[in-house]
């Protein structure tokens, strides 16, 4: 047992740290540090900077711009990126649709989509959830009917994150309504400019407009946009959801948040002392730090184990990463709000320029919205209850 990295790994970490902290614009990283919303431009700029170095799509096949890195390198890359508050490469592009096209798409699709997806020339969104298909995703009803060389799509998607920015959407659609529910689903790519698509924003409790409803009304999609085989979409969706195993814990991001909380708590005062000197606050923070340290060690165990484990058989410990990682992220947003105290109150996230200039310290503006917004992390990507169902079945054999 040895927790030290090799000289090569340490050199790689230095290289990554330097790159992230010098090449990605400070203004973008500051927004991430404070939890401010990124513009589409911020995300695209960051992604293109990464991509220019071949660091946007490290998990892809090497032939399509991936890296043949070791699990430890991938870990260090993610950890340094998150600690430097670099926006995570656009997830819909990089961890979701890209690997599916690379694995199951045909050559024309790879040529057409992968380079533009890597460089964020196409901004993707994900059309999976529906009003009646959340945790029970396979019960989705959006219908795609084959008519000659086209599919005609009718139905509705919901919780479609950043659909307002998206150029394309990858959808799960029902192509065989007579088959068992998992067996009649296909994976199809749709240009958001196609007639018949309507995007309606949903305002969430933080005041943000991150998610949308997307309606499909007789939307005609060329049949060549089908990925892989018809009615095999559920397999591709499972592949997609199982893709990211370690980054999801967001350990690096939580480390950065703790460092920031400590800075903020030394600026805020409780009575005649800085909040950071308040023993009760220090204990609350230390309690989360311990959980995070344990999670970091658990993640390292998974990373170390990936080197020898056969592909497709995830380490049991990996399944707890999302569960625990989401809880820690949420606890930290609570602590930020506690640090800013009454200045959490003014409602400042707004699209009409209300409450300008900012009321209270700059760093307080996102405290409450971030707390409200982060309730999502234990819901999206399979709620924590679904995660528990999966662990109970797959690992505990219940």
């Amino acid at each position: 047992m040895d927790l030290n990295f090799t000289a090569e790994e340490l050199a790689f970490r230095e290289e990554a740290r330097h790159f992230f902290r010098t090449e990605i614009p400070q203004s973008i990283r500051d927004k991430v540090a404070e939890g401010e919303r990124l513009t589409k431009d911020d995300m695209v700029t960051s992604q293109r900077t990464l991509n220019a170095r071949g660091w946007a799509t490290v998990n892809w096949p090497v032939a399509w711009g991936g890296q043949s890195w070791s699990p430890v390198q991938i870990y260090l890359y993610q950890d340094e990126m998150q600690q430097a508050n670099v926006p995570t490469p656009i997830g819909f592009n990089v961890t979701m649709v890209g690997p599916v096209i690379a694995q199951f798409g045909n050559d024309e699709q790879k040529q057409q989509f992968l380079p533009k997806t890597a460089n964020a020339e196409i901004f993707w969104c994900q059309g999976f959830s529906e009003p009646g298909a959340g945790s029970d995703l396979a019960s989705l009803r959006t219908r795609a009917e084959r008519k000659g060389d086209k599919y005609i799509i009718n139905g509705q998607k919901i919780w479609t994150t950043l659909a307002q920015y998206a150029d394309w959407i990858f959808c799960l659609v029902r192509t065989d309504p007579t088959a068992k529910k998992q067996e009649g689903i296909s994976f199809i790519l749709v240009d958001m400019k196609t007639p018949g698509i309507t995007v309606r924003p949903i305002v969430t409790i933080d005041g943000g407009r991150e998610v949308n409803e997307v309606f499909f009304d007789n939307v005609e999609v060329p049949a060549e946009n089908l990925v892989g085989q018809e009615n095999k979409g559920w397999d591709y969706a499972k592949f997609l959801l199982g893709n990211e195993r370690t980054g999801i814990a967001r350990v690096g991001a939580s480390k950065a948040k703790i460092a920031r909380i400590k800075e903020l708590a030394s600026l805020e005062r409780v009575g005649d002392q800085p909040m950071i000197d308040n023993p009760r606050f220090r204990e609350k923070l230390a309690a989360v730090e311990i959980e995070l340290k344990a999670l970091e060690m658990t993640q390292l165990r998974v990373v170390a184990d990936e080197r020898t484990r056969e592909k497709g058989r995830p380490n049991p410990a990996s399944s707890i990463l999302k569960l625990k990682g989401s809880q820690i992220q949420q606890q930290l947003t609570e602590l930020v709000m506690e640090v800013v105290g009454p200045y959490a109150l003014p409602y400042q996230r707004d699209f009409d320029g209300r409450n300008e200039p900012v009321i209270g310290p700059d760093y307080a503006t996102e405290a409450a919205p971030m707390y409200f917004n982060y309730r999502k992390v234990s819901i999206y990507g399979g709620s924590n209850e679904i995660q528990r169902n999966i662990i109970a079945k797959a690992i505990l054999g219940l």
């Binding site: 047992m1 220090r282 309690a287 730090e289 311990i290 340290k293 060690m297 528990r388």
Partner: protein, 386 residues
Amino acid sequence: MDFDLTDEQRLLKDSVDRLIADQYQFEQRKKYLAQPDGWSREAWQQFAELGLLGLPFAEQFGGFGGGPVETMIVMEAFGRGLVLEPYFATVILGGGLLRHAATQAQQQALIPEVAQGKLKLAFAHVERQSRYDLADVATTARRDGAAWVLDGAKSVVLHGDCADRLLVTARTAGDRRDRAGIGLFLVDPSASGVTRRGYPTQDGLRAAELTLSGVCVSAGDILGDPGAALPVIEHVADEAIAALCAEAVGTMQVMHETTLEYLKTRQQFGRPIGQFQVLQHRSVDMLVALEQARSMAMFAAVMAAEENATERRRAMAAAKVQIGRSGKHIGQEAIQLHGGIGMTMEYKVGHYFKRMTMIDMLFGDADSHLATLARLGGLFGKTKAA
């Protein structure tokens, strides 16, 4: 960065796992518990033959030169077996103090005896008022020529009832909670002025209350500097915490496995109760607590050898908090998910719960270590110590 065991460590793990599987089934343990010492002399001799009693000592003294990872391997297996023998008292605590504080001559005289199973040790440190403060020592040592005379009382001396030698802390100078002025003395329990009262503890192990009244200790039985033993005591306490964390992981693992097995076999409402989602989710949370604890026990093992005392302290405090919290969660859930049977002395899960609960009370409970870590400024980012 890897979590692999070396070939030697793997061999050690295989042999100690086999020992526990063969010799330490729950029914066998009950027999050991019923023996006059409350543990098995035969098992102790087997530990010696397997080299476990000499594990952490230098080869020149008949040891095997093992480090904290080797100790982790043994203690985790002992946690799974709920081992009753005075291993922690003799090898981890007593042996640790000898390794860090004793002269070559003292080590030469004592360690081979320990390694062969002929000498059992106990660390007599806790006092009525001291709780978990290692510097709080009221027992006094007064110089008398080249010798020292000890007066005071020690509490909850782990396996102090059977120890052949006691390692007693006493104040040679300064006020009750001063860091300086603490000495460490080797005391023969049959010496004049020593009285001890042995008793069983909640977890089936043993301890003793000790009074020292004008006990004379010769110059050759002082361990290290009689005015500056605290850093050594703290170092050994950190090693002890790492060992307890590993033992705790072993107990948690058995509680988790036993509960899981029960959920799969116990039938109510016409089906195994493990089919109920509420119980499935609770057993997943037990697994999460177990894996987090295992991670921190590994962290503690690696950090137990850290020379920087503050960094070592931070790591041990963090690990002990995690172990305390995970252990309480898993233990309470194990009892609850078993229902009535979990409450009985004849069923094993309660015994694991009791040991786990007592581990939290040794060398600082979760709250005391959380306060320590908070004072030291936590684990990430920059915070000044308070």
